[in-house]
């Protein structure tokens, strides 16, 4: 009986997995999962409500990005995305892979310095990086169709995520490194933050190399798109159909 009680809260995980698999709206799925695992752990309704309420409001910093929306919205109304696109189209040397790899490196370095909130999906990807990437992809060929445009946008968002994740852990003063240090300290192992941060460097470099290679392959696929009107730009472009 006690053994069963130990495993019962996993029902909450099951709710999440099933809910996401069946593509229900995620918000009610997640809230329901919380209620289910609370009930399974034998908590009262009042305790569960308080637990959900407290956890929710203590994470409200996650909503800060909405403050960028009014400024970005006003600029978009006056053609920010169109201008970002026009500007990149006019820059002859700016290819899709150069743009994305430069952004990846910059994002990693900024995150390593602890400047994780300087860029982001709302701050930089939607208003600047995505339209620039679209323009760079169109520079050497015909206009993107709907599906290709979406691919370029999604790849820009992915580049931002990867730059953030695999730079952040090298920064010593907040976030991951302090969490690791704090955890070990609770368990009687004392470490210096720098000891931990340095060992994140090999992965940071590997992440840059792997994603840069994928970016080059993706950019080639975009450049060698099906259109026969596009002249071959480099030898080998046509053969490389690696789907990223």
């Amino acid at each position: 009986m006690t053994a069963l009680l130990h495993w019962l809260p996993l029902l909450g995980v099951l709710v999440v997995v099933v809910g996401f698999a069946l593509r229900f709206n995620p918000v009610p799925v997640v809230v329901l999962a919380g209620i289910v695992s609370g009930l399974a752990a034998g908590k009262s309704i009042g305790d569960i409500l308080a637990l959900i309420g407290n956890s929710f409001v203590s994470e409200r910093a996650l909503l800060l990005f909405v403050l960028t929306l009014p400024a970005i919205g006003v600029l978009e109304r006056a053609g920010l995305r169109e201008h970002a696109r026009n500007w990149i189209s006019a820059l002859r040397g700016m290819t899709l892979s150069r743009l994305l790899i430069a952004y990846l490196g910059l994002r990693q370095i900024l995150s390593m310095l602890g400047l994780t909130n300087v860029a982001g999906q709302a701050q930089t990807v939607r208003p600047l990086l995505a339209p620039m990437a679209e323009a760079a992809a169109e520079q050497r060929g015909k206009p993107l169709d709907e599906r290709e445009r979406n691919d370029v946008r999604a790849f820009s968002a992915a580049t931002d995520n990867i730059g953030l994740f695999f730079g952040e852990d090298v920064f010593i003063a907040l976030g991951a490194v302090l969490l690791i240090q704090g955890f070990y300290s609770q368990h009687g192992i004392e470490l210096e933050p720098l000891q931990i941060a340095l060992w994140a460097l090999p992965t940071a470099i590997a992440a840059f190399v792997i994603h840069a290679i994928r970016t080059v392959l993706f950019a080639r696929r975009m450049a060698g798109r099906s259109g026969t009107t596009v002249p071959a730009l480099r030898s080998g472009d046509g053969e490389n159909s690696e789907r990223c």
């Binding site: 918000v27 053609g79 820009s156 695999f166 470490l191 992965t203 994603h211 990223c244």
Partner: protein, 322 residues
């Protein structure tokens, strides 16, 4: 002194404004959704203070508010909101040119300045920025400055700030809320013993005397738990206490610093795979108006998978050697 709390009030104000615009257009679900969220964000400190003083009622009401949001969110259809005509935007873009970049770049720039020099900004012996979450306070300040600059550059009416911000907010819809809801779920899972059950499950499945099996179980456990929780920070204490410490460090003599760093980064690979990491993987889908909820994950999972293998190899080669 500027505090992070002021930023929360600003968010609440913006959300309430968006609710009001939706109310005027009789979009009841949207109006109710943003209004409830505005109250939760604005009243957050009150709820937490009351909990600290052992008054559970405000937190329970907040919990009921979260449930109300969950009920409203499936009713939020991505409605067609009128955007300004494309040709007018193009004409403005040609006229204003690089001046449009100024306010946009102000957001990262001012955030950067506050992050770097905010600690030295002292007026009359009082610090201008509260050191708690100073970078985020800086981000909020940067957004206000950028909005003023944007209105000045484009000569738009101040009301355009709310109208355009609300247009983007409604484009996001419930996706804006998902990161918060998932973080709340993490708190509930931690408090109900889900973590302990998962690490027991992992330990039951592996031959503990094989160092390689323990490395793989720890790494894949981090990924799996991160995929479920949407967050490597939630997975790290659970898996490291359940598998890392007893098996790898104590039994096989692994180096804790390397194990910690690589373990966390292995979890980050999992973050690239999961819709539960909503702020990274679902919010941009809405922001970039992509058709499929998993489009961003599809673009990045291969990088994550290769990196996962690299990480496991690094872990196995390094943790027993140093």
């Amino acid at each position: 002194m500027l505090k992070i709390e002021h930023a929360y009030w600003l968010i609440a104000l913006f959300l309430a404004g968006a609710a009001w615009l939706n109310l005027r257009e009789r979009r009841w679900s949207h109006a109710g959704f943003w209004l409830v969220l505005a109250v939760l964000v604005g009243g957050g400190k009150y709820v937490l203070d009351a909990t600290a003083a052992h008054h559970p009622l405000p937190a329970q009401l907040a919990g009921a508010g979260v449930i109300a949001l969950a009920v409203l969110s499936p009713r939020m259809k991505r409605g067609q909101l009128v955007e300004r005509d494309a040709s007018e935007r193009e004409a403005d873009a040609r006229r204003l040119g690089h001046r449009l970049f100024g306010p946009a770049v102000l957001i990262p720039l001012v955030t950067l300045l506050v992050a770097l020099f905010g600690a030295y900004a002292v007026i009359g012996g009082v610090r201008l920025f509260d050191p708690v979450r100073m970078t985020l306070t800086g981000l909020a300040l940067a957004c206000v400055i950028a909005l003023i600059a944007a209105l000045w550059v484009t000569r738009a009416k101040p009301s355009a700030g709310l109208a355009e911000g609300r247009r983007l907010l409604d484009t996001l819809g419930w996706a804006a809320l998902l990161p918060l809801t998932l973080a709340a779920l993490g708190g509930v899972f931690a408090a109900t013993g889900v973590g302990a059950a998962v690490s027991d499950l992992v330990r039951m499945m592996i031959p503990v005397n094989s160092a390689l099996a323990c490395v793989v179980a720890y790494g894949l456990g981090m990924v799996l738990f991160t995929v479920i929780m949407g967050n490597a920070f939630a997975a790290f204490p659970v898996l490291t206490a359940g598998v890392g410490l007893p098996l790898l460090i104590h039994l096989h003599g692994a180096n804790p610093a390397i194990l910690g760093a690589l373990g966390m980064l292995t979890g980050y690979c999992g973050t690239l795979f999961t819709p539960m990491a909503a702020n990274f993987n679902i919010v941009p889908v809405a922001l970039l108006e992509l058709p499929n909820q998993n489009d961003v994950i599809r673009a990045q999972w291969k990088t994550g998978a290769v990196l996962l293998v690299v990480n496991l190899a690094l872990m196995y080669c390094l943790i027993f050697r140093f």
